[in-house]
Amino acid sequence: MKKILITLLAIFSLTAVLNAQIPERPNPPRLVNDFAGVLSKNEFSNLEETLESFARQTSTQIVVVTVADFDGQDKAEYAFDLGEKWGVGQKGKDNGIVVLLKPKTGNSRGEVFVASGYGLEGVLPDAIINRDVVDNEMIPRFKQNDYYGGLAAGLDVIMSITRGEYTAEQYKEKVETGGAAGIPFVFIIFILMFVLFGRRRRGRFYSPGKNLPFWLALGMMSGSHRSSGSFGNFSSGGGGFGGFGGGSFGGGGAGGSW
């Protein structure tokens, strides 16, 4: 009995670990997410404000995430997965950046990774991130436990480089043109039968006048419910930048450790 209990417990804790990998998207959306708790309240709101106004001006979204550990994942992969899961950057432009920081604790190394979305790989090549952002600005300050200073200095460089790349225009969500894709197969079969067998007895049961509304109703049913449940649609949620837009990451970026 006890054995079963222990096995069950082990299974549960295992699934819990598997699910705990990437943190959920913050709600209301925030650009600075200090899960590791390295920023003071003032520092947090300074960064958040800077990044939000940058996002409003340029539509480029820079997310700062600090975590206590990567749950055994590689830092780069963790950053890309997080960027994809939260949808950092605008859909189609893919102009999102994830700055991922794991502070140095005890004898585990501090690590940082800056991931750039597809759309920013051109202006912000890996070598530039590696040299100008990570090696020159961030790591020297992180080494002295100045996490805020390192982040702020690194972000300054990123923002000055990417500022011209995208401008904030009203971003319209493209609604998928779904057509008649909503009618289930069974329905079609039903209608086929209806038409084929029903015709014989047309005189008794059906008249075109009655059939027409039925078809119309079907057409209406099929075309209606198609909307993409994107996060970027609501701007009233409290995030001063309009929410994440569904950007995508292709593996650009660089990082380092100290």
């Binding site: 090549p125 590696n130 057509g179 009618i183 086929l192 292709g250 970026g253 660089a254």
Partner: protein, 192 residues
Amino acid sequence: MKRFGIVLIAVVSAFLFSSCGYNKMVEMDEQVTSQWAQVENVYQRRADLIPNLVNTVKGYAAHEQETLEGVIEARSKATSVNIDANKLTPETLKQFTQAQDGLSSALSRLMVVVERYPDLKANQNFLDLQAQLEGTENRITQERKKFNETTQAYNAYIRKFPQVIYSGWFGFDKKTYFEAQQGAEKAPEVQF
């Protein structure tokens, strides 16, 4: 009356095509194709970086001729294997990954050798190249993962009811995935 019936059937079958996933299957098939192009792209990007890298290393470590030649050779082998997205079978994909893995291991041998040259490691040009190479490896991982995801979505879709009945009629077959690198499940051994 008969003509009316034919028209009706034509209309209904048009509905059938658009509504029962035919269009969706075409779309998903196309997604897999374009994702495969992405995968080849990032591998090409890596291949393009190599001549530059080899030249930089040569300047500092000229007598590591063997390792450098190994990289060049593996590169030419890897770039010679190109697969059309429509001809992706487990065999051709295996051939492709084998060639690319050969290049990966040649490169990692080179990176080990480089550790012995502090001057080279301080060279800014080399550091930039190294960052680019790492970034490219990241991109490869990422695009392969996306390829597997799109393929998985496609495979699941064509085998779901009702598509499973007729997906075969139109030639929508199950597509193949990337598998984990052989031996990747074993942690590398570190020797001093």
